[in-house]
Amino acid sequence: MRQTHESLCETVEMRDLADGARLCVTPRAGRRCHAVLSVDYGALHEAGTGRGEPPGIAHFLEHRLFEKPDGDISERFTDIGADVDAQTGFTATSYSVTSGAETFPAALELLFELAGRTHFPEDSVARERSIVGHEIQLFEDNVEWMSFQTMLQALYPAQRIAVDIAGTPESLLGIDSQMLTRCHQHRYHASAVQVFACGPIAVAELVDTCNEALSLWPKGDSSPAAIHLPVANPGVLHVPMAVPRVRRMLAFPDEIRRQGIALMRHELAMEMTLDILFGPGSEFFSRHYESGLLDGETFGGEVHMDESYGFCVLSGDADDPDALQSVILEELAQARRSDWIETDFERARRRAYGDMVCQWEDVESTVGFLENAGLRGCHPFSVAEIYAGETAINTGDIRRCLEECLRPERVAVASVGE
């Protein structure tokens, strides 16, 4: 199915691939192509140590898939002038490639081989444990990462989501070659695959390339992997770290489960709410920037929404983190009684609209847009409709964010610093 969006001047083509896999492409002129192969298997799908999937195995698997009988497959990408990368998230693992137009079919074949073909000799599994161990340790010096991890522990204590996606040095000890093979067979099947691509691409050829590559994939059962649904239990957590100033992070759980376009709409509403109340154009930001309470470089909000979890975060460095926290919570309490949302809505919407248009600019961000929509089961153009037009987002959506999610009494508090 091919559709064109008039005002964005873009085309999207969706195709079903073999064995339940799906493809979503935006063809356009240019020199480079970018594609993401996404597998519906992430940290929250891991069944647990007792069931052969200890915490960190999704990420470990992603790392180990790069090794093939003839060496590191990334060298073969480089040989044809393509750049490959991979990432493990809470609910998906994605493998991405960027290449010139003429090598794109070969690059995509390699991408399917990367994710689909296993080779796990025991000695390299052992070596990987030490590499990932280093990686976990290296991140412990990173303030951003530490505060995010601490926030997750404060918001979802003792649940999988609060453990590093890469696992812990202890949880990795149990991983061996057999376990990786079983996990791959069980989780990496065609029906869990979605491919998103953008660039000078002939879609019919791409469909053939994908189907041919998929025919070599393991034929597993096609029941979707079950997810650990995180349950929020907000608390307060402090982690000592040698940094000049404390990083304080406040997190608000969103406990209403949404799907599809309702989820996308809610996510945008959440982002606009944070922009209106705390963004660089807000009264709050300028007042507390002028007073020195808020640090302009680090202060900001983030929204993390998915079918299985949802929360939003406000954070920043502060000399007086308690004072910063209390003005944020007061602002939220006041916002419910004010008309700020209504008076500032159009500014925030215009900003969001411009940002959305610009996401269609380069091949990577376009694929990001397709992926974001596709993983929630939405057509990318339906998502674009949330930003403008008759069915677009409205002030009622924003009010709901205030009432349902940004509740001072449900805040989780994380601090990193002295």
Partner: protein, 438 residues
């Protein structure tokens, strides 16, 4: 395939000189959804001045007489469909540049827009430079003080990144007394003597006299952009200082070995080498250095990565990179103190191997493919094109991107070997975990 087969233009930009020595570089392309304006004013980094300019960059972002504070500025750009304005100071080799950036969605995608979004941008940049918000002719004292403390905090927080801290310390040791030893974000120790009045004086001289390069990329007409620049940019009527030459590094000495302690959970090793090859030198030599770096440690297929990280498992992270204007090459790695010596030996052994035997055929081929691929695909974006063009202008080199592509293809294994053979270790710097006596 609908690949773009139009022959590439000989240069990426339509460059023209405006009155008074302002250079305008326009890239017209229908490939983008937005228009970017980047204005640069370069000077050589000097003690004292770096901090003054860094502080100035921060003050300019605080408001103009029309849009007097942060909130007014931000709301104005939000209203222009999420346009972005930023002013910052950056380093390119020994240069510190005041960099003003404005980007805005292309009007073609906002049929209902009532403003001319491109003109709004040039107007805003002109105001930021020539009409900052003043109270009774001065920068408000409170603002100057706020930006001083933000600058301090920012520089402190930069060093929260231990890898960056180790790199800076190594650079300071290797290039002491030269612009390379300085940070474009300023030095907190130099803030004391600065106040709103001397900053304002500095601004007026700087804006009027230092060279200006303006890059505009998007679906725009160069003549129209030129007219808008003439209308909105300040001091176009006077002649400006010319670009200073790239200074020399201090003479090489015996290799130095420096160890310092910090609160880090993992040691950071930085090795600084002199390559004796510079951006401004012979093109083939420089192209060979680019390829050498990719083969050695500049990419995920490189020797350092595949042999030291993957095969030997000595570290999680290892990479090499070059500073093109000085001809310095750095290797940096996260490593346990016990593994430092063996890591150093292995890095030197890889260097020695390339210097003795040259790269293998497949290694050279792969690095050429990768470099070509990256340079060709730069035209799908703007950052890369602007950076390529600007750094060569600053180095006084007239190589176009397309010409450099042909140079890369001409490099032989013997060229890479010859470049490797001249590389010498200058400084080994190790930032090690503090011994807590546990």
């Amino acid at each position: 395939m609908i690949a773009d087969n139009s022959p590439p233009a000989p240069d990426d930009f339509d460059s023209r000189q405006l009155v008074g020595g302002v250079q305008l570089h326009v890239r017209r392309s229908t490939r983008f959804k937005s228009v970017w304006i980047d204005l640069f004013q370069p000077v050589l980094m000097q003690p004292g001045n770096v901090t003054r300019l860094a502080l100035l960059g921060r003050l300019l972002e605080r408001g103009t007489s029309r849009l007097p504070d942060l909130r007014a500025l931000n709301r104005h750009t939000d209203w222009l469909y999420g346009a972005a304005l930023s002013t910052q100071t950056i380093a390119v080799g020994p240069f510190q540049l005041l960099h003003l950036h404005y980007d805005v969605v292309d009007q073609a995608f906002i049929p209902q827009a009532e403003d001319d979004l491109l003109a709004c941008g040039l107007q805003l940049l002109g105001e930021v430079l020539s009409d900052p918000f003043l109270e009774q002719g001065r920068f408000p004292v409170a603002r100057v003080e706020q930006e001083k403390s933000s600058l301090c905090r920012y520089v402190e927080s930069l060093y929260g990144d231990r890898t960056l801290l180790a790199q800076r310390r190594a650079m300071e040791q290797m290039c002491s007394g030269t612009p390379w030893a300085l940070l474009p974000h300023g030095d907190p120790a130099e803030l004391e003597g600065l106040d709103g009045d001397n900053i304002l004086q500095f601004l007026q001289d700087f804006v009027a006299n230092e060279p200006v390069d303006v890059y505009v990329c998007g679906d725009v007409d160069a003549d129209q952009v030129e007219a808008l620049c003439a209308q909105h940019l300040p001091s176009l009527d006077r002649s400006r200082r010319s670009l200073p030459a790239v200074p020399d590094l201090p003479p090489a000495t015996e290799p130095r070995h420096i160890r310092e302690e910090e609160d880090v959970s993992q040691g950071r090793l930085v090795l600084g080498f002199r390559t004796h090859v510079q951006l401004a030198g012979p093109e083939i030599e420089y192209a060979a250095l680019v390829l050498f770096n990719l083969i050695f440690g500049g990419d995920a297929h490189s020797r350092l990565y595949s042999r030291i990280r993957e095969d030997a498992g000595l570290c999680y992270h290892i990479a090499s990179f070059t500073d093109p204007m000085s001809g310095l090459l750095f290797v940096e790695a996260g490593v346990e103190p016990d593994d430092r010596q063996i890591l150093l030996e292995q890095v030197l052994a890889e260097l020695d191997d390339i210097a003795t035997h040259g790269p293998t055929g497949p290694e050279l081929q792969r690095s050429q493919n990768l470099a070509r691929q990256r340079l060709e695909s730069a035209e799908d974006g703007r950052d890369g094109l602007v950076r390529f063009h600007l750094s060569r202008r600053l180095a006084g080199v007239e190589t176009s991107r397309l010409h450099f592509l042909t140079c890369l293809a001409m490099v032989t294994a013997a060229d890479v070997r010859a470049v490797a053979a001249r590389i010498r270790l200058d400084t080994e710097y190790f930032l090690e975990p503090r011994d807590t006596g546990d």
